[in-house]
Symmetry: C2
Subunit: 114 residues, 2 copies
């Protein structure tokens, strides 16, 4: 799978609030699918499992079978990868543009003489 | 629009490689839609405009009409917002887990005695 394919999958996985909520729950500790369903009573088990499937496909959740239970573990490494390539540089760009704007607002007289 | 709605739109906008490529091009400088189409000859104008529409809906691109031209500007502030709430903390979590793993690999004898 190319990096583009992988990045598409990771961003797609993050683009649904339920999936982001599941990641937040797994960031605290690994949980069984049953425990996740109990924490999200507004959703049926099938919906929760579909969302876990999308997260697993993007490599963000690793499922481990223990007897009849399925334990879900967060793997945040793919998020670190998109942080380094995409999000970090754009956040830095936004900060730079804000600083530039602030400087221009603080010294408006210099703009005219430039 | 709620923060959840907004985050859904931003991640969805980032989930297609063509849209990420458009953002990279606009990070260099604002460009007309015509200029963007010339830089992406493999896509027809209609496809490029559809992708720009998704980026504009997420607040990542601001379009400005000048005569018959449409200038597209990058606004990276929404990316900074998802960086602070989502990506930054998860990237930090990934780093922490890697450090922990490295420590465990470097001192395996301590695991047995713990």
């Amino acid at each position: 799978m190319s990096t583009d394919d992988q990045d598409d999958l990771i961003f797609k996985a993050l683009s649904h609030r339920v999936r982001r909520q599941l990641l937040d729950l797994l960031k605290v500790e690994p949980r069984t699918t049953g425990a996740l369903c109990e924490l999200m009573p507004e959703l049926d088990r099938c919906t929760v499992m579909q969302h876990l499937g999308v997260l697993a496909q993007a490599g963000l959740v690793i499922a481990e079978r223990r007897g009849r239970e399925r334990w879900n573990h967060l793997d945040a490494l793919p998020i670190q990868a998109i942080h380094e390539r995409w999000i970090g540089p754009y956040a830095a760009y936004a900060s730079m543009m804000l600083s530039k704007l602030q400087r221009n607002l603080e010294t408006p007289e210099q703009q005219g003489s430039a």
